[in-house]
Chain length 352, copies 5
């Protein structure tokens, strides 16, 4: 799950800022140290080649031409604008995706609130509650399998879900016999099961008797008609929300946008590399100390470029294994725990 | 349908970035290779004309004036800002359009959940379910015909829809006898048919007997009153959502905006072309190697301009045949499949 | 109505781009040709005055001072940012206004779906349907009269609406006897009439008999209680949406913003004009060909400024007579047609 | 209320633009003439001091140093960006606040639609309608007192509201005896009164008779149960919306943001002032005519800065007495008029 | 709570602006005085070192190299853009969080409106009302404990809540025996209690008698079925809203973004520091008065950088102890007061 530094940043004191800056997990440092190192080495090598290999030879002129040409390429401001704009757009998508992740509490609580206990025996009650909790879990797993490779690795086939006790063999059979395309989403099927489960136990207020007449039903069902409709409504809302997660996953930012940004960014880094050398050379004192100073003054800007590019790469798909991505496995564990707490409280207590 | 690189970009490793950059379908490369080639050739030709034709002659001065004048035109930053702003605005529209595309699952599932099977024979049930599925399909086709030339090519007239079994001749007749303007949207008519289908089978709780008195109805209909109202509500929501797709298609970004951006962008490319030549000439070493170096350093920036312009052209209307456009044909096939799976499960199994 | 180029721009081919660029209606060209011509002439005149009148005289120095001073005014980037930001804000408003324009289909279809035909004779049915369609039309006309001068010209007074058969004299009398301020919106009055029309025909489930007792009502009304409430709800939603159109019209962007932008923009054009002359003069070859070249290189940028300013002027109020404004007259015709098609299908067929 | 120029700007002709630019009320000119004059005088004084006091003396050098230093401060682009960004953010807040202002029509119309006239005598009907209209008015006044100093001046205490006949002495007593903090909002209390008014006249469908049994109620109340719930719902929605107005008023943009922008802006004006003088002096012809020209060329930019700063000051709180602020007094008058028209039509006619 | 300057800024007069600028609490001045002082001292020290220690020695050259290199680092515009963009994004989050804070009035008023007093004795009524008010308070406290360290300090354990009379020992026991992870949110548990409280007192319209038959219930419960459903709905809405506060707290802006911005900002300040010294030295008159002038001209820009950085640090987490953060303690007090006023009016009066 995303790295949380809210508590540290709650009050804007100097100490809080320092603590936040030197976090490691999900941090700037962890993201860019490899690339920053790589660029520094590349720059050092290029500069050494020039100083020890080319300087004073007849080829020096060709290398210097590179400096002249790169000097006029005015890319920094534009790049910064582009990348930061892109990042904040990705961020918006990322937050919207998160908000679509819809917690199961609402549905579970509503089921508990509307469930008419008096129409069932104690054992039946427990069974129904457990089944609803199980179906909601299956619903989340089927959905996350479509967007997160982590969850797909956990449950590569429906049989694996049966093995871990989340599905019964019968349900696996139903899922398999569905004639949907293998790549079509199956996540709405458990929702359909929940509705069927309630519908078969739900007693309408009127029935047709053997004379074909409509008569008032004397039995009490799992819910009243109004409660049934409200619950269905809540269930459909949850389904709709999580269907939007699939949409976000299915329709990413255009590929060409991502590509052009990446290429542009690396291009700027190369240009920067030559511009820096040009500045050292033109300042006429090409000592080592100077190179160090120059590196120090250029590195921050290059690092910012790199950092922003890396951040955009991390948040472009929030369902991977980056530090800032959503931990789908944790989410599933959490949902199982909360569903059990709400729907099967005795069960959970016993188990521990 | 839009090109999906979500899985590749899930985790931000170096390898993932390389894989994503070198995708072809829907990529930067596919979008701009033609124009990039064209511009390179144009630049080479112009430069050759200068070096081999004008240099040293009395006309050289005129050509050089061009360089002087273009040198002072400070367009890059502004252009970048304009284009990227435009792109993200188009992108927002594009995503909103996608979100308006409303899946039929909600309506189909709700129909299944509310459908009272006991009021009909097995055959009647099947027929009603099939008809509802068919009407929803017709609804999508009629809508997509108005926005996508692909679907219009598939079904140029209502008769073509009858030929492929989606409409009965009677229904074609009704559609044709509608006195709506040929360009007015007809998409809401099948929705009306579904309501009529249910309404004629829906039994109100009270009737007027032959004495003019209001009495309780003893027959049970297709749905209860509350369920009927909720279903109508869901149906109207779907209609509203897809009506918004028409609105988005009907009210594009102002034409003048699109035009000015395109012209501005090509103008900058031409200016860039002369500015580059000016830089080569003023660096006083007009060799071929230099020209190569110069091209390499200018090309990225020009390519970014081109790429962004092309991306904006692709996403300005999401219902065309570009790689990133919505595949309406695929959507229709998918909706037919899902509707059949939900409403006519036996049917689908038999057919295979 | 807004100029539609969606179909042309569906697929991003070279041909599509060219076709779109050379459209006339609602285009850049139509918007700016007058002003572009004006500026070109102004520039030519000023330059001629300088070349043929001032050059070489003692006043030349004063004129040249102008060049020196304008050279340092760094306005372009900022201006571009301001205008494009303003445009996209106007555009957002414009689209939101469009989305508020609320189609009458939803209400008409819902009325049709809920209308209980068995409670009325065939003639009564027709009359009620016609009246509802008529009231909805009046509702739209009263609303558009408040925002669009076109519609106000069509129906300057309520009597004109009676003349064209949209209002009966009685209804005109009611509208006139309303004690609302002349400038207050009357658009909600026809909505009230529709509710009254239904309410008087709507039979509640319980009545008070002559003994003051509450008894079950034996007559069947126009709608059941639930349907009545849903319909009222839909009607109020439509009213709310179109009330928002009035709000948007009533609260424009602050006047000072619009003024400062316009003045700033013309200021930049004047500065540009002198800057261009300065560049020609300082390049020391003040021939005619040079002036042509210079014009060519400056014009695009100035044209973009002009174009953006003009676009912002066009979309700042979407209810005028510009090519990109909403055609309220067309909308009214369209609503009448659709309402007739839905509510009075026999009528429309006969009439043709 | 905000200055409306919609009608003038409906069609983008040259004339319309000129008319809009030369409006006075709420205009740029009215906003900045004082400050613009001040700055011009300040500049003239400073320059005169230099030309007539310092020039040629030994202190000239110190003054010139100021020019050198300010010349390098590159503030303009950034400032423009900051201010325009801030303005559009304020503008968004301003529009959202306006949209929260919630008209009372919806509630009043709904009350009229649901009100069951047959359960009351003619006099009772009138009384109930009047009271509901009065309570809604009180609701608006209590709310506006918390945000607008204008309305607080009109009704500084509850007694003043009783004096103008909007509250009865009893109601004033209830308001006063409320133990809420003096600064806590009281606006929801009249809403509570409306609910109580209806609730006491609302007859539930079932009652408990003296034997403790639940029996069907034979009296008809003010509304049916469904209508009562819908009305309560609408009422709560209005309350929620106007509660948001308080939230917007309570949580302004951070003070530091507003302060830093203001200081930054005045700082730039001072820097500009010196930069302009520097340019005049360095152009070596310090005549009066030159100063005039220079002023003319710098003023627009400074004026834009000023204008934008002033606009942001005007719209940062929309409940003041600026030309563009919401006229709360007008709104209250308008609401009283509309509520009377809807709920007490006979009354209003008689009174005139 | 956030610092309110709305009243002062209501009307944009000169005086209002001055008053607002010189506020202290939550102001720019309070935020930056420490850092501004620090930077000024740092600059003075560095400059003194140069003037009195290095100038004229052989090491002067090394120090001057620093100037040369920093001169070319073009950071200001970009930085300003980045920070202001970041600030407005944080601000949006901050406002959205505020809007999610959901007042309890709606739920409390709805409970009061739907509460059927006739089914209970006066004492029972009071008890139920008090319990509902108490549970809502507990709900807010449990929620705020998860986001605000202030509230967690007030109530570190559930027992502390029992000590202050907000929870009964039994309820503490239930909360403790919940098998939820210690870090999982418990805030929904009191909501569940309220539902249980009503549900046990809510009488369904039908019951099963001893013969297993469904019969009409003759007792009247706390609410009718419709009211119960509406109330549950409102309660769930409040829960959903405040659950979003947790989401916002749980998913902050990516850490790397915050880090890179902070480092970039301090980097710019350091670069600025050397650039300023360079300008003083190159103007060849390194007197003290000059240094003062230079400081004055550079300080505003640096201060703006600092101010913006500090503002972003303050609003990145709105639940700390900064002047502009939400005062959770005040909010809890306020909610207790309002809940008592609405639900237990007699109580509150007596107590005083």
């Amino acid at each position: 799950m995303t790295v949380n530094y809210s508590l540290d940043a709650a009050t804007a004191s100097a100490w809080a800022v320092i603590v936040v800056i030197f976090k490691w997990k999900g941090s700037l440092w962890k993201l860019i140290w490899r690339e920053a190192l790589g660029w520094t080495i590349l720059m050092a090598v290029l500069y050494s080649v020039y100083v020890y290999g080319l300087k004073g030879t007849e080829h020096e002129q060709y290398y210097k031409t590179l400096f002249d040409l790169t000097k006029d390429v005015p890319m920094d401001g534009t790049l910064m604008f582009l990348i930061s704009y892109m990042i904040f757009n990705c961020l918006t998508r990322w937050l919207e995706t998160f908000r679509c992740l819809g917690w199961p509490e609402n549905v579970a609580l509503m089921f508990k609130q509307h469930f008419n206990k008096e129409a069932f025996t104690r054992h039946e009650q427990k069974l129904i509650n457990q089944t609803v909790a199980r179906y909601l879990t299956v619903f989340y797993i089927l959905l996350f399998r479509d967007v997160s490779s982590d969850v797909r690795d956990m449950f590569p086939t429906f049989d694996d879900m049966a093995d871990s006790g989340i599905l019964t063999p019968d349900e696996v059979h139903v899922l398999k016999s569905s004639r949907l395309d293998r790549h079509s989403p199956h996540y709405w099927i458990p929702i359909d099961w929940i509705v069927t489960l309630i519908r078969t136990r739900y007693e309408p207020t009127h029935l047709i008797n053997k004379h074909g007449q409509r008569v008032r039903n004397r039995k009490m069902g799992i819910m009243t008609e109004m409660e049934y409709l409200k619950f269905i409504n809540e269930l459909n809302k949850l389904r709709g929300k999580l269907g939007d997660v699939l949409s976000y996953d299915w329709v990413p930012l255009p590929l060409a946008l991502f590509q052009s940004l990446t290429i542009f960014c690396y291009g700027v880094l190369i240009v920067n590399c030559f511009q820096m050398q040009a500045r050292i050379i033109t300042s006429n004192t090409s000592g080592l100390s100077e190179m160090f100073v120059e590196c120090m003054s250029t590195l921050p800007l290059s690092m910012i470029h790199l950092a922003y590019l890396r951040i955009s790469q991390v948040i472009v798909n929030p369902f991977g294994r980056d530090d800032d991505d959503f931990e789908t496995q944790y989410l599933i564990d959490r949902h199982i725990q909360v569903l059990n707490e709400i729907l099967c409280p005795e069960e959970t207590k016993k188990r521990r």
